[in-house]
Symmetry: C2
Subunit: 356 residues, 2 copies
């Protein structure tokens, strides 16, 4: 039986990416060596890094005003590395608090400068994306979490402001086109839409750098990695390589416009069933629903374990909700096939009929 991976992250990757990756673990580009044991200074690894950077620029339509970095440490490292590099102690950064990850970013930023939480949806357990709030024009930047993996909400439109945006896009990067002109910095742990765990993408506008005066260790200064094309130290070669393969796959599927169309169609299958089905209800408000993470519950919580068990038996894996929301979470990233989502919707319908 074919299994479908609804895990929130690390998450489903395209099968052809996995097969190419496995092949290069055995014999990298026909060299006779594994990609796990070749020098990061070798011609092929340098070419992979250059290719990965070029693909990020091409997919997002980035001009020369942006630098693309492949780093380590995940979004959790970016929570402090961003303000360390961009925020002086006497300056103020704005943050929109849309969930657990935003909160961590806010906490880390407070050590480096002033933080103004301009809006929050904490009052309803983050079931919506705040709108129509005041954004002071003198903020150094405004930080948003474009998709909230745990709560299943997603910014459908960017905040209207001239303040440069900084976004944690860990769980919806490369799922749709973006307007790069509005951003000073974008970061994402790879392990949802763009690769395996162990590599972090950072896209930074060059002109945003060089404005803070504090001391930074070499490894934490974005300029170190820009000057060394992400090879100041040994990069996470394999995780970068698999990200490159995934970016190639996204391009081969038609790029971000095609991804967005596919993701909309896929999410519609599940949200339509959720709205029709009398047993289930969604956590996120309709207008802010995520196309990546669908959070939902049963009105009768007593059936939860049974439904999860049924899912597992049907090959639908990783659907248990995060403890802060409960119920279920279907993570339906770029690489998850529509058939798997249809199978889940069908099971919800069958479950409703049984319980009627």
């Amino acid at each position: 039986m074919k299994k479908y991976n609804f895990s929130a992250g690390p998450a489903v990757l395209p099968r052809e990416v996995i097969e190419k990756a496995a092949s290069n673990v055995l014999n990298y580009n026909g060299s006779g060596f594994s990609i796990l044991e070749v020098s990061h200074r070798s011609k092929d690894v340098v070419a992979d890094m250059d290719n990965a950077i070029a693909l990020v620029k091409e997919l997002f339509g980035l001009g020369d005003e942006f630098e693309v970095l492949f780093l380590q440490g995940g979004a959790s490292t970016q929570f402090f590395q961003v303000p360390m590099n961009l925020l002086n102690e006497n300056e103020t950064a704005g943050y929109v608090n849309t969930g657990a990850w935003s909160k961590k970013a806010i906490k880390e930023a407070k050590a480096f400068g002033k933080v103004n939480v301009v809006a929050s949806s904490e009052d309803t357990n983050y079931s919506y994306i705040p709108k129509a709030y005041d954004i002071p024009s003198d903020l150094k930047y405004l930080h948003i979490t474009t998709n909230n993996t745990i709560f299943g909400t997603q910014f459908q439109e960017l905040p209207e402001t001239n303040v440069p945006l900084i976004a944690d896009m860990s769980s919806d990067i490369f799922s749709r086109p973006i307007d790069a002109s509005k951003f000073d910095l974008i970061y994402a742990g790879a392990q949802k839409n763009m690769g395996p765990a162990g590599v972090t993408l950072v896209i930074v506008r060059k002109s945003a750098l060089g404005t803070v005066s504090r001391y930074m260790p070499a490894m934490l200064d974005y300029k170190t990695h820009i000057e060394n094309v992400s090879m100041y130290n040994t990069p996470p070669v394999f995780a970068m390589h698999v990200s490159m393969l995934t970016l190639e796959w996204i391009k081969s599927q038609g790029g971000l416009t095609a991804m967005a169309a596919s993701n909309e169609a896929k999410a519609k299958i599940l949200y339509d069933e959720l709205d029709r089905n009398s047993l289930f209800y969604g956590h996120a408000v309709k207008e802010d629903r995520s196309l990546m993470n669908v959070t939902f519950r049963l009105h009768n919580e007593e059936f939860e374990a049974e439904f999860l068990d049924r899912c597992k038996k049907e090959g639908l894996d990783g659907l248990k909700g995060h403890r802060s929301v409960g119920g279920f979470r279907a993570s339906i990233y770029n690489a998850l096939e529509a058939e798997g989502i249809q199978k889940l919707a069908d099971l919800m319908r069958a479950f409703e009929a049984e319980k009627a």
Copy 2:
């Protein structure tokens, strides 16, 4: 023709480790999913992490006074994370400068406290390990680089002192037994003797922590990772997994005593030929020669390109020396088979005969 990988790092891994890793990229423990796409909270990944930690403790004979962490960012991150966690501004740390990596560690430490470079071999381009120097007893710690990848030197004995040692063991970890009682902290990028690039091992004595007063971002505080068994954020799952497989392989070979015996026998093949051969000479002084990285040159530098070319044709790969030493460097880590080293020694002998 079989090829041999003399690369300094990322470096040769045991073939059976590579084959198991490739198999788990395709189908992790029979789950039907790739190890690249499964949750780090899944039972199997948690078991791998626990197993990797247990293997480190077993191989090094570590008691409960030590914690074992699998982090990101490489030794270059430890250069600042160590003093950030262990050195107050009014305290002094000692450093032995035995090469490029020691120098970077020294530079980063200066931002966090006082640094006393108690000894250095910079005067002879790091061709030896300093001995018989004064170590003030009030140092917070003494930092050494046990093996110097670039220069081909290695501490054969630990400094005699009651000051707790901190060691960068990136290029000789698990190549021989250690006396853990002398160390407060050991760190190593995995990509030489214990795995692929993308994961960093940190072993820390619990009692060494909690003595600094400065603010640390969550990701930089060792205590964060101890409390969360290296899963505060998404760890580099696959790099950790391959490290676990490599540790299992080391254990299956007979552990560190067997590794040391094998490494001594392997290095002897090459050093014996180096001492016999009239064309070549070594960079490191004999008593400090590394069992991991053999640095050597031709008296007549005009033959360098030709010899490298001959090596390549014989399937001996990655022998070009680092630019700061020149000539050749044979990195002969745990997983490099003796046949490859014998082949290199034979080629040196044949080359001598041709040029006679």
